[in-house]
Symmetry: C2
Subunit: 126 residues, 2 copies
């Protein structure tokens, strides 16, 4: 399991409320650094540092728009993190049985993805 460091970085990135807020904001669409910094009582370099952490965890990627460096959310590491949590479905089942099948499905999706493709065979309800 070489993804240990990725999990480390992902969970560490998620452990800060500012960074979670940034991700929440990015879930609504791309944003520049200053746009991201606005709602926070914090300097722009501080936000840049947070973005670096998020970038290192692969949670955001950056583009180029003139001197702007727009950020966008990358969901893949979140998937890894969720997959790790899902590994506890066996234990969870003691208290939350209905989750069992769902998280089991997530595992299946992971393996499908690892195999190379995740074309949706039925494409139901998107």
């Amino acid at each position: 399991m070489a993804s240990t460091e990725l999990l480390d970085a992902t969970f560490a990135a998620l452990a800060d409320p500012t960074r979670r807020a940034i991700l929440a904001r990015l879930a609504a669409g791309e944003a520049s650094v200053t746009e991201l910094a606005e709602p926070f009582a914090m300097s722009q370099p501080a936000i840049s540092k947070h973005l670096k952490v998020l970038e290192r965890a692969g949670l955001v990627s950056r583009g180029r728009d003139a001197q702007r460096r727009p950020c966008r959310l990358e969901a893949r590491p979140l998937r890894e993190a969720t997959a790790w949590l899902a590994d506890y479905r066996g234990y969870w089942a003691e208290s939350y049985q209905r989750l069992d099948a769902l998280l089991d499905e997530i595992q299946a999706v992971n393996q499908t993805d690892t195999a190379g493709r995740h074309s949706h065979p039925d494409g139901s309800r998107g």
Copy 2:
């Protein structure tokens, strides 16, 4: 949302591979501190510190068995963390359509749970 600090503590606790390993071990059943310390190239006080972090995040609880202080996994904070991740299902859907329905269901389960019930249709396969 007052659970910010709980999320902080939970994700921070999960960010360390030793602590994740401890949780993995505990998912298989209760264990004492020395039992938990054994597999690691690390002193017992170091493990105690990790346990303190896990305890502060509510991820483990401790019992009493003579001079042993057995640890057991507590899943509730993991649920909170997963719920947070699930909030991004809308974004995930762009790339991983099949997850959408699943994570959507998790939301439903959360609400059902809040309401009070979650009967298990089969409970098989662990």
